[in-house]
Symmetry: C2
Subunit: 83 residues, 2 copies
Amino acid sequence: MPRFMDLHDGFGGVTQEQLKAAQAADWAIEGDEGVHFEHAWLDPEAGKVFCLSTGPSKEAVMRIHKRAGHPTAEIYELPIEVS
Amino acid sequence: MPRFMDLHDGFGGVTQEQLKAAQAADWAIEGDEGVHFEHAWLDPEAGKVFCLSTGPSKEAVMRIHKRAGHPTAEIYELPIEVS
């Protein structure tokens, strides 16, 4: 299953509880598109969120984020990784 | 230990082996600054790399990347995460 990273702006000052609530909104509906959000990281000073997910396509990931109330246009497919 | 995500452009067409070599150059010297690069993901079409690390400061992470031959100015501190 392809892996993706998507980015969100405008999350300045957001707390852990608020990020958890945003993630929960994705998790509640992600199965509709065969998407799974694995991890989200937040820089509350820059207001930037990074979301790592798997799913069938970029468009599927973006539809879930949009329906969950936090749309984004910035997403990358990540066929190569090293750890 | 603070966690960071830094971004690199200009990696279009880079292979898994080349990304591994770039990561190895970081790993070889990261201990000098108390930094550890945990994971790197690459979108070879967009030429974008995301590096997840821990370290004492943004500046320490950036110094290691610069010495390893792939400097970047774009880095975020990530005190909040959800998975």
